[in-house]
Assembly symmetry: C2
Homo-oligomer: 417 residues x 2
DNA sequence: TTAGGGGAATCCTTGACTGAGATCCGCCAG
DNA sequence: CTGGCGGATCTCAGTCAAGGATTCCCCTAA
């Protein structure tokens, strides 16, 4: 353990990089504004001269990434021409590969869903066949959307962790037999002809929030992903934290309940063993809240019964409410650990199971997190639910492409090796 | 909780910024190399053309931040001229304000300690007098070092958290009465005439590692700070994570022992209640390992007895060893939580109490962390002890200045508001 | 003496900045 | 109703500064 792997050192930058970066900065400002911005406003916001804004605007107009959308003249003088994002300027395809269902979306530049489909994930141990099926579904979806293929910037894949980011493979995914270290990214690139990006589902969800989540996707935040498992996506200063192997956000073994049930790690009360939906459903069945007592096999069964549990809680069943409320306390503890460690001032909740939980969680969690906050005296911590719905995984996957292509990441400035 | 605070949007960049950034990139490459680099090597490393390197080298030579140090010719052709950091090119002053002792250092450009002193922190409730005393001590230290005042880039302060980074104040510091929200940074700037930066001690320690820690300070890592409390500093891709209010790294309430003692947060087995030195010393006293049974008042008493405990463990006292070993397990769990959440591949241990612990911890902790790693299948996690010694707080404080002035932070590229 | 590599001088390209001019609209007088 | 005036917005040329490409000079080993 004494030899330190020497990372690639920090590299320099040059003029073309600078130009491209400023372009993405302006695009980002336009994107984040509600209702567009004029060139003068842009100059003020990004700190560049009006001239430069004009030049870059022209480039963006030429690429039809933005459009001039009307004028706005209040007083005397030439009215400002408003620049807006052109939704049809670019598209991206997203796939969320989940043990239960595989979701597909085509997204436009503003992050709106143009086309959408879901298929049950085939549980064959034959990844090649599944990959071919995915490629075919993408083909069908793009066809149906009527989008010009030239306008499709790429394909994003969201997969359950852990993943091997360097090789574009999932590693020992639970409930996906035969998928260990299959080179999914390259296989799909070959099959579709698109450039492919791959990330964990929680990271994708966080990216979806930055791109399609409105004001709650700006700055720094932790995205609590409520899915089959519970994970988090991390965004610091508008940049997603991926970690060395793309596996940031693993919080399954944070201990949230010293009196909780034992976990496979040998301890007690981990997130993974005490507050994921599967555990809550099992608790509800043991308590006799859910009539159906069949085995909990597969993600879709869990999802269904979990929805029943939440409905019971919303309907006033006190035992069900107790289970949900307790889970809120535990999840809030996990969120607090991450929020305290990174000192963020916003926690965003989302994920496929969030819809059922949101009402009760939004009543309980804000106060719990505020109480647990180490920096609570200095700044409050906002707790919000995401605006991106159930398909956040697939939407996030598509947003990976948009983010990679158009977001003003500092990395974009640096020369490549 | 619905109103989202709109953060300052991402800003553009321009030519002068680019030039300055490239300068810092080159300086950083020279700094990180062992034994200097030639211009050609630099060109290859940072990706800029040889003559750009030449131009920037000239600027660095003019500012005497680097020096030409000999030639290196192996084969035919003109031998390479080696560029090295000039230790005397710049200095920085660092102060570590700790409840027990206040440490002062003057650092040169390579991070070597030029001058050093310690005084007991006066426990008066009169911050103004203490600030005046600190300023006087700095004056004395600079005088004694014989350093040209023009070469002093600034003053760094490391303070125990939580801090209010915006206002440069400590917030409700434990054991420091009367210091709540005193505007320490501005007061010291007025008193010394230096530009002052302030950060938490754990953040400062992480910065010290990036600047003076050798290869283990590159890339991404978590710095576990073993002090009166236990905290962590976070560095991702060579940039320190500070958080919205400068309070990142608060891990005191991560639960590491479900069977542990109760904590003031209402739960059990937090880091703060189960493995900080004060708790271990109390355990040792209860077990009769330490003969002296006096009260545990003040940081220096704890430090002294903790050293005795570690000595006993090193000497083979099995009860003492059990206490240290158990703490290693617990601290490893906390480190694992952070490492898993951020997916870093290195954990660096350090801090004032690290010296006593290092031998046993380095035997136990690497395996423990590897076992707890969620990404353990994908990459190993290195565990190393810092090269920066007991004064890491003050050295880190001085490094804050060097880092702010000379590190290739992406932030440097962006235009200011 | 020759070969080969390092470093500097020169010119080119490119992107942002500066200042003058064109454009557009509301206002107001005739 | 019409045309000139003023003010704000936007664009056109010129300048500046930084990195890139080419060329040349210098140095050392063989």
């Amino acid at each position: 353990m004494t030899e330190i792997r020497q990372p690639t050192p920090r590299r320099g930058t040059n003029l073309p990089r600078m130009g491209d970066f400023n372009l993405t900065v302006i695009l980002d400002a336009v994107r984040r504004s509600s209702g567009g911005l004029s060139r003068v406003e842009l100059a003020q916001i990004v700190g560049l001269s009006p001239q430069t804004i004009s030049n870059i605007s022209r480039r963006l107009l030429d690429q039809s990434l933005i459009v001039e959308a009307g004028k706005e003249g209040s007083g005397p003088g030439k009215p400002r021409t408003i620049l807006r994002l052109n939704p049809a300027g670019m598209y991206a395809v997203g796939v969320h590969l989940d043990p239960a269902v595989t979701t597909f979306v085509v997204l436009d530049l503003v992050g709106a869903v143009v086309q959408h489909s879901r298929v049950k994930t085939p549980d064959s141990g034959n990844p090649e066949a599944v990959i071919a099926a995915i490629a075919a579904e993408i083909e069908k979806l793009v066809e149906a959307s009527g989008v010009d293929r030239e306008k499709i910037a790429g394909l994003g894949i969201a997969a359950p962790g852990p993943i091997d980011h360097d090789n574009g493979a999932v590693v020992e995914p639970p409930l996906l037999d035969g998928w260990d270290r299959v080179l999914l990214r390259d296989a799909l690139a070959d099959a579709t002809g698109l450039s492919v990006l791959m990330d964990k589902d929680v990271t994708s969800a966080a990216v979806a929030e930055t791109w399609a989540g409105g004001p709650s996707g700006a700055g720094s935040f932790v995205f609590m992903y409520m899915g089959t498992g519970i994970g988090c996506g991390i965004v610091l200063n508008d940049e997603v934290v991926r970690g060395t192997s793309g596996n940031a956000g693993e919080i399954g073994h944070i201990i949230v309940d010293p009196d909780g049930p034992p976990c496979d790690c040998g301890l007690r009360g981990c997130v993974k063993s005490s507050c994921i939906p599967q555990v809550l459903v099992a608790e509800a069945q043991a308590a006799g809240i859910l009539s159906d007592e069949g085995p909990l096999t597969g993600g879709s069964v869990v999802q269904e019964r979990f929805a029943q549990l939440c409905e019971a809680a919303d309907a006033g069943n006190s035992a069900a409410m107790a289970i949900i409320d307790k889970s809120a306390v535990l999840v809030a503890r996990a969120a607090s650990v991450v929020a305290n460690t990174l000192d963020v001032d916003r926690v965003v909740f989302g994920g496929p199971f969030w819809g059922s939980l949101s009402r009760r969680y939004l009543e309980l969690v804000p106060d719990l997190i505020q109480q647990n906050s180490d920096a609570g005296n200095i700044h409050a911590i906002e707790v919000v639910g995401t605006g991106v719905g159930e398909d956040v995984g697939a939407i996030g996957a598509a947003c990976l492409v948009l983010e990679h292509t158009l977001a003003p990441r500092a990395q974009r400035l640096l020369l490549e090796g």
